[in-house]
Amino acid sequence: MRNIWTIARREYKLFFISPIAYVVAFLFMLVLGLFFSLTMYGSISQMAYSPTAPSPQMVISPMVTILLFTIPAVTMRTIAEEQRSGTMELLLTAPVRDWELVLGKWLGSFLFMASLLLLTGVFPLVLNFMVKPGIDFGPVIAGYLGLLLLSSSMLAIGVMVSALFANQIAAFFISLGVVLALWLSNQFTSYVQGFWKTLLDFLDIITHFVSFYRGTIALKDVVFFISLTALFLFFGTALVEWRRWR
């Protein structure tokens, strides 16, 4: 356990030393800020016709898309860079189990994403001040929990892919591809039947996320994202192991 924490802490600190953290955070806040202001201006100008305040979920939904593109950038370095620079040899000959290494790498990235999500909390707070009599924080909290769980599974994919490569760019594009494929899989459900349809329906991240978005926390969705995380971290460990045997 201590090893996981040691690796996670180094990983987390590294984000703030390397420019990645600042670039990702800047993009995240910029895009989200643009969405937020546009929605606000839009609803102010429509005030005369439809006097309804923008729903707090308007902060959550753009973040899903932003996450999709930023998470591969967050995880691309994790294991690929260790392999490129030769420090993998150090980690694999230290008394650390392979799964502790992978879990530590994931935890560090997860903590970074969580910090970033915490930072975006200013938008619902701003909205709360602008709307009378304030917003309902229930769906916001559920939405953020959904975002955390979604990030957790996407980060696991990214860390797994990073274990495959010694090149960050390759790791970035492949994890982006995997994440996008999972994202778009629900588009194909109407073209397939039987087992494949059941599988695609089950894997549909959007469906599992939407319930959080609507403000409900369903155990089956929580379990879904946690299982997805565990599965990809397991694959990631297997890949690190496989590297040794080559």
């Binding site: 201590r2 040691t6 620079s85 030769g86 000959t93 008394p95 650390v96 040794r244 045997w245 080559r246």
Partner: protein, 332 residues
């Protein structure tokens, strides 16, 4: 301490090491010598638990490197060939991180101690990225010493160091080797000669020879080599020399000097000089070359073993001897 039996590793179809067996006890400094690609790094990586062997077994301090990998890794200090460092960390942070990974107690005191050992205490707050190659090498060494390992495995530990540092590191290794087992690889032969108490020459994944540096040297140095130079073309000199007893393997070298070996225990150089002058040649030079570990190394790791016949050997050896010739000329 280190026990290796029948170790074999294949990378795809290529066999990197082939049925290696050796052992080292506490207090041994075992030198691993070989040309590039001989399998030194592969063997070290297997011993440190980085990767498993294809066949054979290896034990460190009684623990199997595959089955009890974590126990082995706790007891081994390893300095890989490309020193594994995080350039964005300071020397202190890096060593602290390694100490944490190894679950050490009083990490900060221990970091200060090893920094002193490698003479880096003044640079403890510098970022690793800003250090020179020699300093990085020393930080890597500090990392390998951090947990007071019973076994030290050092892959080319003095590479990139300046001469004073090389002497320092060699002394350090000798010091460490008193209580531990050290396995170091090098292709600097004089290093093995100075530091190690046993040398293992490995080529193409096989052990060519295993002995003490002194015995290795005397094994071939039993026959001393002599270089002879005359004015003009040395035509017919070979026949003249062939008549002198106690001489073998006469070679005509491309620069018109002759090289031959003396039978051990018989210095017949005066006889050679007399014979040369009596045959009407003007003798310019007659000097002995010491057979160094370099020569043994070249001899042992040559592509194909050559029969020790006079004519065949001449051309083969020419390529290796050019350096030596250059040196001789400088001496004149």
């Amino acid at each position: 301490m280190i026990q290796v039996e029948g170790l074999t590793k294949d990378y795809g179809k290529r066999r990197a090491i082939d049925n290696l067996s050796f052992h080292a006890e506490q207090g041994d400094i075992l030198g691993f010598l070989g040309p590039n690609g001989a399998g030194k790094t592969t063997t070290m990586r297997i011993l440190t638990g980085y990767m498993p062997p294809t066949a054979g077994r290896a034990e460190i301090a009684g623990f199997d490197v595959v089955e009890q990998s974590l126990e082995v890794r706790r007891r081994v200090g390893y300095l890989p060939e490309t020193v594994p460092l995080y350039p964005e960390m300071s020397v202190f942070e890096y060593l602290k991180f390694m100490g944490e990974l190894r679950n050490l107690r009083d990490i900060e005191d221990r970091v200060d101690e090893v920094l002193e050992v490698v003479h880096m205490e003044e640079r403890s707050d510098s970022y690793i990225g800003s250090l020179s190659k020699g300093m990085r090498q020393r930080v890597g060494l500090a990392q390998a010493l951090l947990h007071k390992p019973e076994v030290l495995i050092l892959d080319e530990p003095t590479i990139g160091l300046d001469p004073t540092q090389i002497i320092d590191v060699r002394n350090l290794i000798r010091e460490l080797g008193k209580e531990r087992t050290v396995l170091l690889s090098t292709h600097i032969l004089s290093e093995a000669q100075q530091v190690c108490n046993r040398v293992l020459i490995i080529n193409k994944g096989r052990i060519v020879v295993e002995d003490t540096p002194e015995r290795l040297q005397s094994r071939l140095a039993g026959s001393q080599r002599v270089v002879l130079k005359v004015r003009g073309e040395p035509d017919g000199l070979e026949t003249v020399l062939g008549k002198v007893p106690g001489i073998s393997r006469v070679n005509l070298r491309p620069d018109n000097t002759l090289e031959f070996e003396l039978t051990p225990g018989q210095d017949v150089r005066p006889d050679v000089a007399r014979a040369v002058i009596n045959s009407g040649f003007d003798l310019l030079e007659l000097h002995a070359i010491d057979v160094s570990l370099e020569d043994i190394f070249v001899e042992l790791t040559r592509e194909e073993p050559q029969p020790p016949s006079v004519s065949d050997d001449g051309e083969e050896e020419a390529a290796f001897d050019t350096d030596e010739i250059a040196e001789d000329e400088v001496e004149e």
